[in-house]
Symmetry: C2
Subunit: 315 residues, 2 copies
């Protein structure tokens, strides 16, 4: 086992419109956003598939960020291409098209050099493929899962199977409710914990994220931002920052106490939220391509200050 | 100036339906919820109007909680009566009827004995009436304002006028956006601060609340609850707990530093969130009618634990 992060997910081209701007053929995909954030803190090995239309410059960008791209397979055909439009509130969006291209036949092959990675982020893809990834790696220290409503609707059994085998799941508010219907988020989270996953992290967009575990619950806010330009990839960037920080901090080693790991996760959520606060400030991964650790530290400090308080003692 | 809390708002009867239950003629109203919570921490003077159908037992309940009801005027006619139904998610609701009754002619008269109250909570009523209340009190140490979309739509100028004259405003996410349209909550909050109010507290229902001031921002989560029975009054209970704690803690005295007051407000938000977490567990004010300070302290501790984290240091 080493301290590298394995990230498996989509590598994509995105056409994005907002009420104020729009761009086409942007670098996107869950594995890309996750890798760019995680690479700030740890070595990253990415696995994905691209078509022959995928620009070399995007691969170069990943390499320059220190991401090992040996696991990115180029195949005949078109790269996964998504087109969508954000509404006035910048939270809701409409999908205009989803062209799977070579992604339709994606069958992740984990290069031998990746199989000892201690940290695995299974970004949003078909849960059957996520299961196949787990079958190809040695026993990682930490596995983190993301998913989406599509898989909850059409592959619930496979999704439940993979949830049982990972350490932590990231899931949106609506997806948690879809998986375990309840007006109470706490109840949906509890049902997920009952499946055997140690941590449930519910993503709430501009309202931050909330983690549930045996050690209690922890809420991290999103940084209040004045200029959100493109929310695409915020959740994957959050996840990438989180898993990258966990890999880099050296505090999830064997023998770490549950309390140590809980605290590392709490701090990692702040780091993830800080990374996500940057990525939404520009299209694609542009804002985090050249971000410094000092900049990330600044926003971690701001987030930390925004949850800092003396204990309450009622007289 | 004394350390009592003056609360002016609606005193109502509510008919409430949820997907699982329903009750009629419940004790409700913003001033009632606010007073029941605030009375846990400070002396409370309530001002409102009721019709001749308002049950004496509801008044007795307020009195037993230590709320001074000298300012509750009984008039010929019907009490303000609201009927609504919550949807499956327990966040959205449909109003079935709003019968203003005697509330239509409400003209708050502040009894002489209330005029030296140091803390004033102007619960949601017509901003013109809120202005008239301020005209009747001596210079309170702290004034807190709540409002609703109706007044933003039909009395924006009067609302802006009262906002300029209070210390803090409580407002829902949607209402903040309605008042100052922007996809960014931070921008709406900033525009409110520019009006001259010192603190903007944005209420986010099950996502807690976020405060903006010159001292920065502070986010308090809502306690994740498994059994929400009736969300009515959660915002007013939050406000009542907040202002009651501020009055009782003795830390908003003249000469307090801005940092002291900021910290008191942060703690007060935790207290407000704890009170709100109780009130939604049963219809009307039932769950907080006989709550103990120990119980409130317990939930403050839980909320505090859910935002507790060591500082993040990125290596």
């Amino acid at each position: 086992m080493n301290d590298r992060v394995l990230i498996v997910g989509s590598v994509a081209l995105d056409d994005i419109k907002t009420p104020w701007a729009g761009e086409k053929n942007l670098l996107g995909g869950s594995a890309v956003y996750g890798s760019m954030a995680a690479s700030q803190f740890a070595g990253v090995d990415i696995v994905g598939v691209i078509g022959d239309d995928f620009p070399q410059e995007h691969l170069d960008l990943l390499s320059r960020a220190g991401v090992n791209i040996d696991g990115v397979e180029r195949q005949k055909g078109k790269t996964f291409h998504w087109g969508g439009e954000y509404h006035e509130n910048m939270n809701d969006r409409t999908t205009h098209f989803t062209e799977l291209g070579v992604f339709a036949e994606f069958d992740p092959k984990i290069p031998a050099s990746y199989r000892e990675d201690g940290f695995v982020f299974l970004a949003n893809i078909d849960p059957e493929l996520q299961l196949r990834v787990l079958g190809q790696v040695k026993k990682p220290r930490l596995t983190l899962l993301d998913t989406m409503n599509l898989w909850i609707n059409i592959k619930r059994a496979e999704l439940v199977e993979i949830i049982k085998r990972v350490d932590a799941i990231l899931i949106n508010e609506d997806e948690a409710r879809l998986l375990f219907p309840s007006p109470s988020q706490a109840e949906s989270a509890e049902k997920l914990l009952e499946l055997g996953v140690s941590r449930v992290i519910i993503k709430k967009g501009s309202n931050g994220a909330q983690m549930f575990s045996k050690q209690g619950t922890f809420a991290v806010p999103a940084l209040p931002l004045k200029d959100v330009k493109d929310p695409t990839g915020a959740g994957d960037t959050f996840a990438g920052g989180l898993v990258g920080y966990l890999a880099g901090c050296g505090r999830c080693a064997e023998g770490s106490s549950p309390e140590d790991i809980e605290m590392a996760f709490r701090q990692a959520m702040i780091v993830g939220s800080a990374c996500a606060s940057y990525v939404v400030e520009d299209f694609s991964t542009r804002r985090i391509n050249n971000i410094t650790k000092e900049k990330i530290q600044q926003r971690c400090d701001q987030l930390y200050a925004s949850i800092s308080c003396d204990p309450v003692v009622i007289k």
